[in-house]
């Protein structure tokens, strides 16, 4: 049972529509016990009886309803007859009413016509009265400055007057009116020309005049001239406050007064002279805007407007207004000029930036110079100084790049324009290249200022290294940094293949100049000591040598201190420097002073470009110093002791200097040349035993 109840379509469901009695019975007989069948039978019987009685009640109820319905129908049939009679009476009455109404309207027709005629007469009379009263009306209106009303009235009346102007009565009115209108025109023009009328009043006046059929071109002229006067007044005011207010305030003022007025003037112009060609307007707008731009540039260049934020905000406001203006004027030149203003601002900013960087770098250099000078003999940490200089410079450049990139912010009216992006990219590159070229120029200048030997040689080394470092890494770092910044703020924008080469060449020549100058400086310092000592001494009366002369120690110290300084910045490269500069002096096998040997040895160039390498720098200084020794020895005459003293000196120098540089042959060649020259210049050329020289050197 329970299973059969589950399915609604089950044929075993006694209440379902698909009930199959036989199946049900069969099923019941199959599944239930006798007792259950008996119970089921009793249940079915009671249910059948209940259904039977219910059916009987339903039949009775329906029967009663049917009887009452028949009664109602019968009653309705008798009522309809009375209604029919009433309707007939009504239609009769309606017919009577129609007849009466036709009669009445016939009677009233004549008097209605009369009334109409009277009305039109009255209107005509009104008009005539208006015309006759017109002169006084006009006068009154004009006196009360209601020019709009006056002109309105006049234009109304004008048609009539023109139509009937040949009749004498109207003629007088017409002449009177035209006199008045002439006066009105005059006053309007006067009003145009007075400077203190506002732009809207101006527009109104011109509109009126135009309604009074003034010719367009002269009106345009007057209109523009007046507008120009007014704008000039604004310009003057703006010019006057340039000195007193900051950029934002100025732009605000400019936007609110001058540019707002200009916009009104232009839109009025368009309204009034709709169809006329645009010949005058762009020219006029150009003239005004040019002046405004010049003023703006002036404001921008004021020192207190340097801040990027204020500049950008002011520029943004200004540009927005101009953009709106240029749409009104629909002239490209104003827009182009507005672009130019922005670009010029960017360029101006860039110029400021690299100038600031340069002055700051100079200040830093001054500080370094002072610290180097005050340190005295104590060795300074050149590497640290170099690092701080370099980092400072790079940071400054990067900061200024960021500053310039601020011009590309999305929220700015010009921020996303491609031309602006290009200008910013250009300006950024200008900052980088100008800074670096300025740096190289400065280094070159400092290096060539040899006469005033105030520049410590350490500084020259630092500057040379700085230039080299920037040339090797800095340029590309900055370049890629710039590309990254541009990519972030304006994707797709690139710095077109910039001339990094020129910058690098500049830097490397600057570095070379600084190195050369350092080498010559150190070399000359030592050379000067040797020269003075050789020339001042009386070598003929020299006593027997007891040790190397003090000057030799000083020379060694000088060269050594330069060597130490160089070693901080220019570590020795592993491969020996290919010193291509050997000429002039002849390095040769020891103790041989014969011209034949010279032919087979190489020359040594004394003042020659120095390599960026500790050993090469020391070689350079050694060459300069020792060649000077050779030349000075040749100018003197030596006694035997003098020669021996020089022998000791040379030996000492050889011992102490051989650790410097990397070209021992060069050193030996020069020192032997010095000794050989002394031998030639000696009246009694007898050298000491090398072993004794050794002992004397050690003792000294």
């Amino acid at each position: 049972m329970s299973e059969s109840c589950k399915d609604k379509e089950n044929p075993l469901d006694i209440d379902g529509s698909n009930f199959n009695s036989e199946m049900y019975l069969e099923c019941l007989l199959k599944c239930a016990s006798l007792r259950q069948v008996m119970d089921k039978e009793a249940e079915v019987v009671t249910q059948s009886q209940f259904l039977q009685s219910e059916m009987q009640t339903l039949v009775y109820e329906n029967y009663n309803k049917f009887i009452s319905a028949t009664e109602t129908v019968r009653k309705m049939r008798s009522d309809f007859q009375i209604m029919q009679e009433e309707m007939n009476k009504l239609s009769e009455n309606i017919n009577n009413i129609t007849q009466f109404s036709a009669k009445i309207s016939d009677n009233l027709k004549e008097s209605g016509n009369n009334v109409n005629r009277l009305c039109s007469t009255r209107q005509l009379l009104d008009k005539l009265q208006f015309v006759f009263l017109l002169p006084t009306q006009l006068n009154k209106a004009i006196q009360e400055n209601r020019y709009v009303d006056a002109v309105h009235d006049y234009t109304h009346a004008q048609r009539v007057l023109q139509k009937y102007g040949d009749q004498p009565s109207f003629q007088s009115i017409q002449t009177e009116c035209s006199d008045i209108i002439c006066d009105l025109k005059k006053t309007l023009r006067e009003r145009l020309l007075t400077p203190d009328t506002s732009a809207s009043e101006l527009a109104e006046s011109v509109g009126l005049l135009r309604q009074l059929q003034e010719t367009d071109s002269s009106l345009k002229d007057i209109f523009l001239k007046c507008a120009e006067n007014r704008l000039e007044q604004h310009l003057k005011n703006l010019n006057a406050i340039v000195e007193n207010v900051d950029l934002l305030e100025w732009v605000e003022k400019c936007n609110n007064t001058l540019l707002a007025d200009l916009a009104i003037v232009i839109s009025c112009y368009h309204d009034i002279f709709q169809d006329s060609d645009n010949a005058y307007l762009p020219e006029f707008a150009d003239k005004v805007t040019t002046q405004v731009f010049n003023l703006f540039q002036e404001v921008v260049k004021k020192p207190e407007n340097i801040g990027t934020e204020i500049l950008i905000r002011g520029l943004d406001k200004f540009f927005r207004k101009l953009q709106a203006m240029s749409e009104i004027i629909s002239s490209d030149s104003v827009f182009n000029k507005a672009q130019d203003v922005v670009i010029q601002c960017i360029n101006h900013k860039a110029t400021m930036q690299y100038q600031v960087i340069q002055t700051q770098f100079k200040e830093n250099l001054m500080r370094v110079r002072q610290s180097l000078a005050s340190k005295g003999t104590e060795a300074a940490d050149l590497k640290e100084i170099l690092n701080s200089l370099q980092i400072h410079l790079m940071q400054k450049v990067q900061a200024s790049l960021l500053d310039l990139i601020a011009f590309l912010q999305n929220k700015l009216s010009f921020g996303l324009k491609p031309w602006c992006g290009r200008a910013v990219a250009d300006a950024c590159w200008t900052v980088i290249s100008e800074t670096l070229i300025n740096l190289s120029d400065m280094v070159k200048n400092m290096a060539s200022m040899q006469t005033s030997n105030n520049i410590p040689f350490e500084l020259l080394l630092i500057l040379a290294k700085l230039c080299l470092e920037i040339q090797e890494n800095g340029v590309t770092t900055l370049h890629s940094h710039l590309l990254k910044l541009l990519e972030e703020s304006a994707p797709g924008l690139t710095v077109k293949d910039r001339d990094t080469n020129t910058v690098m060449v500049n830097l490397s020549t600057a570095a070379q100049t600084a190195l050369d100058s350092e080498v010559v400086f150190i070399g000359q310092m030592a050379a000067q000591m040797l020269r003075v000592s050789v020339l001042a001494r009386d070598w003929l009366r020299a006593p027997e040598p007891r040790g190397p002369r003090a000057v030799c120690r000083r020379v060694v110290e000088t060269l050594a201190s330069a060597d130490t300084a160089a070693s901080q910045l220019f570590p020795t490269s592993i491969k020996p420097s290919s010193d291509s500069s050997r000429r002039t002096i002849w390095s040769r096998a020891p103790s041989s002073f014969s011209p034949i040997n010279r032919i087979f040895s190489e020359r040594i160039e004394v003042f020659s470009p120095a390599g960026a390498d500790r050993a090469a720098l020391s070689n350079g200084a050694l060459k300069v110093a020792l060649k000077a020794l050779v030349e000075c020895v040749r100018l003197r005459t030596f006694s035997r002791h003098g020669l021996q003293q020089l022998q000791v000196d040379v030996h000492f120098l050889q011992q102490r200097l051989s650790c410097m540089g990397n070209d021992e042959r060069l050193l030996n060649a020069l020192l032997e040349d010095a000794l050989a020259s002394a031998q030639i210049r000696c009246v009694d050329p007898q050298l000491m035993e090398p072993s004794i020289v050794d002992i004397i050197c050690e003792r000294g």
């Binding site: 006469t451 002039t584 011209p595 160039e605 003042f607 005459t637 009246v683």
Partner: protein, 373 residues
């Protein structure tokens, strides 16, 4: 002497003194003085280049009064010369410098007959006639050089350590002296008569060039060029055609040309040598050609055309030569202390190095044609 080929003449001793024979206008002749401390070994060599054959003829004269530091032929007489010499006295162990005027027995060098030739081949040193020897007031004073007055044959200027003594060449008397006031420690390195005014003597003092008028008390220079070189100034030469131009050379390896009326900045400057420049000479006929000798063992022929081709208003008249080195002469193997143009022929010059090598060279033909045509 064909294109590019130089003629080399070697001597036995070190040399520092060279002079063209100013009084001679036909033969290309140079005089060389040797520098040797050994007694009685010093000589004066007269070298003549035979232009047609390119042959070199020499004559040797004894100079027994010491080693020669400086030598100048007289512009007034081809046979007369003046030497600045140094003599070492073995007994006193002291050096004494002096200035002597000699006359050559004959100026002819090219042998006329076989006797002459054999004498020449023997190279027997002849004697010169010693006209006058002038010694400084104090024996230990060093003499830098002695210069003939350009017009007055009786007047010579002797540059010493710290003053210039103007002497009468016949009597040896001092007629004037140039000693700047203050007695500055800075010593003189050389000097020359200025070609203008005939009484102005220009000296090199350390890095400065100063000109004194010998008619005044010489306490203040008539004009000067302060710091003409960054290091010592070694030599000057006056432009023979432009009276305010002079060339200077110095230890900063630079060749500078100055207009001494505006002595702040050189009007021309080159640093082509790689060591001290010891000598500079204007070509007597073509002022745009300059000859320099340096201790980098080179003689350089330099063109300074840009400042010579201008007229009075500073406009370029023509551009014949590019500025800069025209030719480098590298036949020397030691420092070149002297280089001189021939007095007789505008295109020939001699350079002398310390290792006693005289090199006679010519301006390359194409430059010569460029200048002439």
């Amino acid at each position: 002497m064909e294109e590019g080929n130089s003629i080399i003449y070697g001597l036995e001793h070190q040399t520092r003194a060279l002079s063209p024979q100013y009084g001679e206008s036909d033969a290309i002749r140079f005089l060389i003085g040797t520098q040797s401390l050994k007694p009685n070994t010093n000589q004066v060599h007269v070298v003549e280049l035979e232009e047609d054959t390119g042959a070199l003829h020499t004559k040797v004269f004894k100079h027994d009064i010491g080693e020669i530091w400086h030598l100048r032929c007289s512009p007034h007489d081809a046979a007369t010369l003046i030497t600045t010499h140094n003599f070492y006295d073995l007994d006193t162990c002291q050096c004494t410098m002096g200035v002597s005027i000699f006359r050559l027995p004959s100026i002819e060098v090219i042998p006329k007959d076989l006797d002459d030739l054999s004498a020449m081949q023997n190279r027997n040193a002849e004697d010169m006639e010693l006209l006058k020897t002038i010694t400084p007031e104090k024996p230990e004073e060093e003499i830098r050089c002695a210069e003939w007055h350009p017009t007055d044959a009786n007047r010579i200027g002797i540059v010493l350590d710290n003053y210039v003594s103007i002497r009468d060449s016949s009597t040896g008397e001092q007629v004037a002296s140039v000693a700047p006031e203050g007695r500055t420690r800075l010593k003189f390195t050389g000097g020359k008569w200025s070609p203008q005014g005939h009484s102005q003597f220009t000296v090199l003092q350390d890095t400065h060039i100063k000109c004194f008028d010998t008619r005044t008390d010489c306490s203040k220079p008539a004009w000067n060029i302060e710091s003409a070189h960054r290091q010592l100034a070694r030599d000057i030469d006056f432009n023979p055609n432009r009276q305010f131009h002079l060339a200077s050379a110095g230890d900063d390896a630079a060749l500078n040309i100055w207009d001494y009326r505006h002595g702040k900045e050189p009007i021309f400057s080159r640093t082509d040598h790689s060591h001290w420049v010891w000598t500079v000479r204007y070509n007597t006929y073509h002022e745009q050609l300059l000859l320099t000798g340096s201790s980098d063992a080179r003689a350089l022929l330099t063109a300074a055309a840009s400042i010579c081709d201008v007229d009075d208003d500073g406009k370029r008249l023509s551009q014949v030569l590019e500025d800069g080195v025209l030719q480098s002469y590298e036949q020397h193997e030691d420092s070149v202390y002297c280089a001189e143009w021939s007095a007789a022929e505008p295109w020939t010059f001699a350079s002398l190095s310390y290792d006693a090598r005289l090199v006679l060279s010519r301006v390359p033909r194409h430059f010569k044609y460029k200048i002439l045509l």
